[in-house]
Symmetry: C2
Subunit: 312 residues, 2 copies
């Protein structure tokens, strides 16, 4: 890739706004794709209130469509997975021959969606460990953590060597002050993240509870544990061994957290669609294709489908 890389951020919310803001602050040219916040950000810029120090970027390259954006070296997709249908049209105008697409999203099957877009040749995946919220138009509050795990998508790009892209992207984020962990097993890392996301996101919606209550009551504690065990079964069926001790670690980490409202609960409370396919539907169908049923996860998935805005 070129020395001075140009970035696109698709989805300028709690994740995209935070990391994109840090990149621009570090001196990188960043182009932001926005929808509802476009007017506000074009006029007032992007604001990040962070535990590491607040900052305002009064002038950002804000775009309402990717058609007005220049081709970019790195395209960070920080949309909700429910908006990934946009990628087929939004990615092509941004692509150069060597563009790298970074899928900064939860769940499974997200790199595949980018890889299927004509012209996309290099896809990475990023798993963020961060507490941040969008608290107003162009206004992100960063509460805690902030690292992410970055790995190559090796599924459907024909064995192309993308390790150069991996280290280059990691360097840019490190220079912007972000702690980046590289992984050579992205698929396993995605399953590990599901060990947390599958129980806490769904139960917080169905039981209308924050993480502390879910850990406090006996019925939900047992559910959390069994859901995690099933995620490990699902991972194993798909070829990824996660140690049982990882469950204990996740439960203890959650118990020591401040009461937390997971992102799916926030989406639900605000009437937005929930990321059900990436976090539940695709893990379930992949596991099922290996002949393994995850009945507790399946039940939670169907309850969430019932509750999802606009679901049939």
């Amino acid at each position: 890739m070129v020395r001075q890389r140009r970035y696109a951020i698709l989805g300028t919310g709690a994740i995209g706004g935070y990391y994109g803001g840090l990149l621009q602050k570090s001196g990188i040219e960043v182009h932001f794709f926005l929808r509802s916040d476009f007017d506000h950000v074009r006029r007032h810029g992007l604001r990040v209130d962070s535990v590491n120090g607040d900052f305002l970027l009064p002038n950002v390259h804000a775009h309402r469509s990717t058609d007005t954006m220049p081709p970019c070296d790195v395209i960070v997709v920080a949309l909700k997975t429910t908006a990934n249908y946009l990628l087929a049209e939004s990615l092509p105008p941004l692509l150069k021959k060597e563009s790298v697409v970074v899928m900064m999203q939860n769940g499974l099957g997200v790199e595949e969606i980018a890889a299927a877009v004509p012209g996309v040749r290099c896809v990475l995946g990023a798993l963020c460990f961060i507490c941040s919220n969008k608290i107003g138009p162009g206004h992100v509050r960063h509460l805690d953590y902030g690292s992410f795990t970055l790995g190559e998508h090796t599924g459907s790009l024909g064995g192309r060597d993308t390790s150069g892209a991996l280290t280059t992207v990691a360097e840019d984020f490190k220079a912007a002050g972000v702690n980046v962990h590289l992984t050579d097993t992205l698929a396993e890392a995605r399953w590990k993240k599901l060990v947390w996301n599958i129980p806490y996101n769904g139960l917080s919606v169905v039981l209308n509870a924050t993480t502390d209550l879910l850990m406090h009551k006996e019925g939900s504690r047992q559910l959390v544990k069994r859901l995690m065990e099933e995620v490990l079964e699902g991972a194993a069926a798909c070829g990824h061994t996660i140690e049982g001790s990882f469950i204990t670690k996740m439960i203890e980490a959650t118990e020591s957290m401040a009461p937390y409202r997971p992102s799916m609960k926030i989406d639900f409370d605000e009437g937005r669609p929930m990321e059900l396919e990436a976090i539940y539907g695709i893990p379930l169908s992949r596991t099922r294709s290996h002949g393994v049923a995850l009945p507790t996860v399946q039940t939670l998935y169907e309850e969430l489908r019932f509750l999802d805005a606009g679901s049939l």
Copy 2:
């Protein structure tokens, strides 16, 4: 039993108030055990608004404790199962040598509770098919149906022949205008009733929905069906074969019903404890004792335990 039988009704709500009212109206001496409605019923009597004709019983034998009640030939227990802890103290003052206890409740394991009370020698079970609600103190509204299925409890009473009691109790209710079906397989009838109660009661609470919505949406339809299938597996594990066609029948019957709020949902909405053990906990533990897991039922049970008022 004696020619002129004296009845006790424990729990004068939507069920006990309706059937007890009909018995008294037919000329039988009935003693009502009440708690919150005692003062009102003693002063104003018992009122039933029924699709079959409204009636008021201005004078009823109302009791705040079974200590003031005379021994009775037939003791109908129409309490919520969550109040069955009262029976150890409330039944003994009512018992004669030949008293019959009729457990008019949902779920499993309810006859066993009566049978374990010292002095109880004959226990029947009744499963009501009725839409009725208590709409005020001593005031029942009967909306539809009204029959019940009556059978002998053969579990723990040492093979005593209770068939005489069965027909006698049935005759009294028939004389009062109630359609009574006799069954010689009470345990199987209880499992069959669970085929409806387990999905619709629990899902209506967890998903905050009436029966029509549960049938309308795809996620919940699949859940209803799988819950019913698991109840059949549970019944089979416990020795009761229920045909798969029974599921179709229950689903079609529910689809043709007016939108309905199941009793557990009413209990939940009004802050009362839910009948979780009789409808979920005991069926699950009996099934488990035969080495069979019902993971979807188990999940729903644990979610309900989380939501239950005052649960730990």
